[in-house]
């Protein structure tokens, strides 16, 4: 097994149980992420949020796309689907529509969700499918070696913008709100307590809820832009993140290494896809409309 791409690290004999042993696929730990990557924090925060939200873990599913964040689905011990690049949201939509009893969480990166998967993102928000979408934004395509992303601030250097990025980036919070998300927030990997609370609210919120997590990528984003280590980026978040709950989303765009706004931006009521479908079908079909009966192991909830 000398030519394996990923060399498995032998598991050390250690009798101390991992504090999150029940929630992680321990046979997959240690994970593949770089030292000082923000993704471990995001996984921990998500597990804490799931615990707080008190959903039955047997009726939860995690879907992710491709990329560094795409690996999240593999480490959380829930039914999970590691899909193709950009398609996490439509897979999650199929899951939710076929078994409405499930609580479906999408965890993926900025490039996956809003680059290749941008079309699915805006349409799922428009339909208001009952999904919680967690977008880990590290401003770069990291898994492929650090290319420019739809979120890269100008003029950050990436491997495909060696002279500095000049295309305007997405303001993801504004995009999500404009497309109809019921809950929109942004936190960083530093704001752990607030992030957990925000994720919990997002999980509990009916409809398309969206949490953007700004996370450090030390290996590519920080190194190419000479921003130091992941720890230096955390310090930067500490000094420059301005907490402004309820801030209008058009004002929360992110500039390169400038102070930026975090907070809970949007929390509104809007009928979900299921609400609207049920109402319309009942109005026109009456008793001929048959609610969804989930698989026999799950009870119907539509």
């Amino acid at each position: 097994m000398s030519d394996t791409a990923v060399t498995p690290v032998p598991v050390k004999e250690d009798t101390t149980p991992h504090p999150m042993e029940d929630w992680l696929r321990m046979d997959r730990i240690p994970h593949i992420w770089c030292p000082t990557c923000g993704l471990g924090i995001v996984v921990t925060a998500l597990v804490e949020a799931i615990k707080k939200s008190a959903f039955d873990p047997d009726l939860m599913a995690v879907v992710s796309g491709i990329g560094c964040t795409g690996r999240v689905a593999g480490y959380i011990k829930l039914d999970s689907f590691h899909t193709t690049h950009g398609r996490a949201i439509p897979f999650a939509t199929g899951l939710k529509l076929s078994n409405p009893k499930l609580k479906v969480v999408v965890v993926s990166g900025d490039g996956d969700l809003t680059g290749i998967g941008g079309n699915h993102f805006i349409h799922a928000a428009r339909r208001n499918i009952d999904l919680t979408v967690i977008c880990v934004n590290n401003f770069i395509y990291a898994m492929t070696g650090g290319q420019v992303a739809p979120t890269t601030p100008n003029p950050a250097v990436t491997s495909t913008t060696p002279y500095g990025a000049f295309e305007p980036p997405f303001n993801l919070a504004n995009l999500a709100e404009a497309c109809g998300a019921t809950y929109v927030s942004r936190w960083t990997a530093l704001h752990v307590r607030r992030l957990v609370e925000s994720m919990t609210r997002a999980l509990m919120k009916p409809g398309f809820s969206f949490v953007e997590v700004i996370a450090p990528c030390s290996t590519l984003y920080a190194r190419r832009n000479r921003l130091g280590s992941g720890l230096d980026l955390m310090k930067f978040y500490h000094d420059n993140a301005i907490i402004k709950n309820g801030c209008p989303t058009p004002e929360v765009g992110i500039d390169f290494q400038k102070p930026f706004v975090v907070g809970d931006f949007v929390d509104k009521e809007r009928p979900t896809w299921h609400d609207r479908m049920r109402a319309q079908m009942t109005a026109t079909l009456g008793e001929k409309f048959i609610p969804k009966v989930g698989p026999s192991i799950c009870t119907n909830c539509e």
């Binding site: 039914d79 590691h82 439509p90 199929g94 899951l95 409309f289």
Partner: protein, 601 residues
């Protein structure tokens, strides 16, 4: 050449849009089916469509209608244009029923045949509405060709009864006037006659309806799709039907989302389907790879149209065979089946769901524009005895009955053995036990990454080989189950064989049946499944055959190449790629030439 089988009649109605051409044709088809006749229709368009020309063609006979035949027997022309644009397709002995003065200076002269003039417009106004012109024509058809007028009047009542009694009256009067006019003014000078029905009522469906109907019957309860001609009607049918049977349908933002949603739905144990045409299948190719890798079954219907790109969306072609079978990155197994006619659309769709559920594999149903758009009669399916596969999920182990044992390879160095559900367990058949979300203790991670039996991502060579073998074993299992499903008609010892797939197979059957009646030594070979090919049976039936004719509707001989490279057969490809299906008469000369060893191999 053999004598024409006069028991089959091919009739075309042509006129302006708005003259009721389509509704008359559909009424005739419905009634014929209800009376137990076999009928198949063809929506055809003259090369130039101007002024909203409408054409409806149907062929009926005492047995399953395999093709539209070679010639038009009867042309009912509502006006001069209807005559001018369609007369070239008629036999010289054909019967013309028209509504223009016989002395008109016609640009296209007929060399023979019989003409009947029926003043349709005038009689319709007499009946009470100029819009009843089509009914006058139907009345005349009944009188001229022995179509049961009682069936037609009942059909009118069923069709217009909901509107008002007045409409029914006008239409019935128009039918009477048409029939009466023929009785009083014409002597029957032809031999054509509709064959009688056998009294077993049949349903009339288009190929697209039959696919959707079959899907619901097979237990499909989730559909996601994106509009594309000529597949859209499948989505429209399911949008109406699924909410009534607890199913859900969503029109996705694109084809990629469509198949992704279907894979998501299948992951929860729901039987799901999407339908598209060639360009959509190309977009779905990546996700098909995931379905193969994560072993999620689903049904993908490709109603082929003439391509590439936008091509000719309303025209027929069998051009997606290569894309369906080979359009994969790496080794992504998918099953490909192709229905031959409308009835087959229903049963092959049911079959596709069964294969998808049983083998946890994506199944592509290759339908065609000429099937999707055309209506035909078929016996009402026997739902009681329909073979529908229901998947059994894995169960939590009990003390005396532990998880199935995985082998040492999976445990592997550095991969601790964990008491988790072996979702991708390797066994003889390659079909592993499956759980769905919501089953406590049996959660797993479906992934497009190469994985081991516990669904853990693994890149090491032994595991890769073992898992590839596992998926291949499953594919071979499909081949074993369908391996004998090759239909052969004709002379088993023949040196000449003819083969084809999809709608062309039905036309070949028509041509071969005629050739056999003439005493020709030929056999036709039809594989029931195109991927995996039933190699054993194909080799057996091709053994001793010196020349093989492969007919298909594309310009490169995609199927012919498969027959060539898999069986080393001497293949002469008969290709047609003009947007219209084969007529049996186009195939017959090749059979004759092959028998005389005149075809070039």
């Amino acid at each position: 050449m053999s004598k024409r089988d006069t028991r089959y009649v091919c009739l075309r109605i042509a006129g302006e849009g708005g003259e009721g051409v389509i509704s008359a044709g559909e009424l005739l088809t419905q009634v014929a089916a209800r009376l137990g006749m076999h009928v198949a229709t063809f929506k055809t368009f003259p090369s130039e469509i101007r002024g909203g020309m409408a054409v409806y063609q149907l062929r009926t006979g005492p047995d399953r209608v395999l093709s539209q035949g070679d010639y038009l027997d009867i042309l009912v022309a509502f006006n001069r244009e209807g005559y001018d644009r369609n007369i070239a397709d008629m036999t010289s002995e054909g019967v013309l029923v028209h509504d223009f003065e016989p002395g008109d200076n016609l640009p296209v002269k007929r060399r023979g045949g019989v003409d009947y003039h029926v003043p349709m417009g005038k009689l319709a106004r007499e009946a009470g509405s100029h819009r009843a012109k089509n009914m006058v024509a139907l009345g005349a058809i009944c009188e001229l060709f022995g179509f049961p007028v009682e069936g037609l009047t009942e059909g009118v009542r069923l069709k217009f009864g909901k509107k008002s009694e007045k409409v029914v009256e006008v239409n019935l009067k128009a039918i009477d006037l048409g029939a009466e006019y023929v009785r009083e003014n014409h002597e029957i000078r032809h031999e054509l006659h509709f064959s009688e029905g056998d009294g077993h009522a049949r349903v009339v469906l288009s190929g697209n309806d039959a696919v959707a109907f079959g899907a619901v019957a097979a237990g499909c309860r989730f559909y996601a799709g994106y509009p594309i001609t000529p597949a859209t009607e499948i989505m429209e049918y399911l949008a109406r039907e699924l909410p009534r049977v607890s199913g859900r349908m969503v029109q996705a933002e694109d084809e990629i989302a469509s198949i992704a949603m279907c894979i998501g739905a299948s992951f929860t144990g729901q039987k799901s389907m999407t339908a598209t045409s060639g360009p959509g299948l190309a977009l779905m190719s990546e996700a098909l790879g995931l379905a193969s890798m994560a072993e999620v079954g689903l049904v993908l219907v490709d109603v082929q149209r003439a391509g590439p790109s936008t091509g000719m969306p309303t025209k027929a072609e069998q051009g997606d065979l290569n894309l369906a079978i080979y359009g994969a990155h790496s080794t992504a197994h998918r099953v490909v089946i192709a229905p031959v006619d409308v009835e087959d659309c229903f049963y092959q769709t049911v079959n596709a769901f069964n294969i998808a559920a049983k083998y946890q594999i994506p199944v592509i149903v290759l339908s065609e524009q000429s099937l999707g758009f055309s209506k035909a009669s078929m016996p009402r399916p026997d739902f009681e005895n329909l073979d529908v596969f229901e998947e059994q999920y894995a169960r939590m182990p009990t003390d005396g009955d532990p998880w199935p044992k995985v082998d040492e390879l999976t445990v592997g160095e550095g991969y601790p053995m964990t008491p988790v559900f072996p979702r991708y367990l390797r066994n003889d058949t390659g079909i592993s036990p499956r759980s769905i979300p919501g089953m406590p203790g049996m959660e797993f991670r479906a992934t497009g990454l190469e994985h081991d039996e516990f669904a853990r991502p693994r890149y090491d060579p032994p595991n890769r080989k073992a898992m590839l073998n596992k998926r291949q074993a499953k594919f071979e299992e499909v081949r074993r189950e369908y391996g004998e499903q090759v239909e052969v008609i004709g002379d088993d010892e023949a040196e000449v064989a003819i083969t084809g797939w999809g709608t062309t197979a039905a036309v070949i059957r028509h041509a071969v049946t005629r050739a056999l009646n003439d005493g020709a030594s030929v056999k036709a070979i039809f594989p029931k499944i195109l991927s995996p090919m039933p190699d054993m049976a194909m080799r057996h039936h091709l053994h001793g055959v010196k020349r093989v004719i492969c007919c298909e509707l594309n310009d490169t001989g995609q199927y012919a190449n498969i027959i060539r490279h898999r069986y080393g057969a001497n293949v002469h490809a008969v290709l047609k790629d003009r947007g219209v299906p084969f007529a049996p008469g186009e195939i017959t000369p090749y059979i004759e030439m092959a028998i005389k060893a005149q075809v070039r191999i």
